[in-house]
Subunit: 278 residues, 2 copies
DNA sequence: CGCTTGGTTGAGGGACCTCAAAAGGCGTGG
DNA sequence: CCACGCCTTTTGAGGTCCCTCAACCAAGCG
């Protein structure tokens, strides 16, 4: 192993790692933050999302008072860096992000992706530094919460606290599935499993209405998610396309027969019921 | 890939997979459950554990009323099976357990290990079935809680709810680390990383006072954790032993120089502060 | 136009896998 | 006490999946 694809952008030499680690989210907080006045949550884009369970009005009002504001990031920008303690916790309002972890020698592992409704930053709700970085894969808007006030949420809104636990538990289940992929599945199974995962999440969150997820993912990023080399990722991708199982281009993921892809990747059909959000 | 070590016990043919999946925890609940009367938490073995942050007296009393009883499992027994909805949530009082996930074709991935103080079963606190099985690696005793009453805990004890979030977040961080291992590290790095992880947890929970963790792990189990074949696991293990980095036998793990092993496996020294428990 | 980003292809090598067999512990039973 | 079975470890040999190195192609953009 010891993979350094010097030609692909997400990878980099050891020299650049430090500068990446040093990049703080502080600079971003400057001009980016938009604090809404009035009743912001009335216009919450998540209120229209079918895959999400809507909070009752009183809870929504509470959230409206609890939240701090909005934040926007462009594709490729970093929400926060590894080994920092960001000031905020976030809920994804729109767009897709990814979480990744860097090794000292420049190797990078993409941990998971975040879709609308997902809660970001639980790890830092407590004392710890973040063990990962979060980066926008599309233009995104996030709903921000002040980290210091997190305990107020737990103390005052048991229902939300419960929902948070729900989200954390399901995030953990997703990581377990990825762990199974990396440990037990070969390249083609892995890629199929990832494609199914992404498309399914796209469907659930209403981003992929017709079963086709429009999302820009480079093959380098796929490689970093699957723990494969860039070259082999390319070949595996072509193989899946040739078989007709998954058609994954730079800008979209199309799965003609999801059930078939599921069977191929040996995914048990654990269908998630409607997710809560905060 | 497609690994079937028919000769090693943890692995099995597809025929046996179903019987394993069908094994319910119900049967276990029969004679095993021991409900303590009086003030059980006064004698809680976790109260002596240095690595754990102790709850204040009133909270401890609340837990004492909230808990349901104790349960014991012998090494090799299953606490609950995959795709079931166990009636209880658990806190590990003593012993070590592992969490694993089965694929339909018999491949198995060990997800993580649980040490004293760890909370088990959060995933099913809600609506979902468990996506994994939990099995005892030593004789263990668990503290049980009735799952239906979980919301009471969140509603009445924000501090405990917060602690639960803490535990969930750190469990997630551990899974992230394992993901990095499987995705980016080669066999030797993986094995060193796992050994360091286990020994560190052993030290933190007081099971490995002298830095040597006494724990029976077969090479087959190591293989299932690392996503390696049994044969290659054996050879890698010998290589690490020859180098003098990790001495991992069937019954114990010894790391002469933890810092060296950490550097070798490229683990950032994220030292956990004292864990809470419930 | 050159530069950058992302994709594609070929060739060779190495890490890891599978198949196969044997040996060392440890209990059980004759 | 030895024989026997069971589990776990060990070792050998051959194969393959995946990696690295190294080009080259295509599209977008100043």
């Amino acid at each position: 192993m010891g993979r350094d694809d010097n030609d692909s952008s997400p990878q980099m030499g050891t020299a650049l790692v430090h500068s990446m680690l040093e990049q703080r989210q502080d600079q971003a907080a400057g001009g980016r933050l938009v604090v809404n006045g009035g009743q912001p949550c009335r216009a919450c884009p998540l209120a229209d999302c079918e895959g999400l369970r809507q909070p009752p009005p009183d809870v929504r009002d509470w959230i409206a008072a609890f939240r701090h504001g909005d934040m926007r990031f462009a594709r490729g920008e970093q929400v926060y860096a590894q080994a920092t303690r960001p000031r905020f916790l976030y809920t994804v309002l729109s767009g897709v992000l990814m979480r990744s972890r860097l090794l000292e020698d420049g190797r990078r592992q993409i941990i998971n992706f975040m879709f609308p409704g997902d809660f970001i930053g639980l790890q830092a709700a407590l004392d710890a530094e973040m063990g990962h970085a979060v980066e926008a894969m599309t233009n995104v808007t996030l709903c921000t919460f002040v980290r210091e006030r997190f305990f107020d949420l737990v103390a005052q809104q048991p229902r939300l606290s419960f929902d948070l636990t729900w989200l954390a538990a399901h995030e953990e289940a997703a990581l377990e599935e990825h762990l199974v992929s990396l440990g037990q599945r070969n390249a083609r199974e892995r890629m199929a499993a990832l494609a199914v995962f992404l498309v399914q999440r796209g469907i659930d969150t209403g981003i992929a209405p017709d079963g086709v997820l429009t999302l820009t993912v480079t093959q380098g990023q796929i490689a970093e998610m699957l723990g494969l080399s860039l070259v082999h990722t390319n070949r595996t991708l072509q193989a899946l396309r040739r078989i007709g199982l998954v058609d994954w281009t730079l800008t979209s993921i199309r799965i003609p027969d999801i059930a078939a892809a599921r069977a191929f990747a040996k995914i048990d059909g654990s269908v998630f019921s409607s997710r809560p959000y905060i």
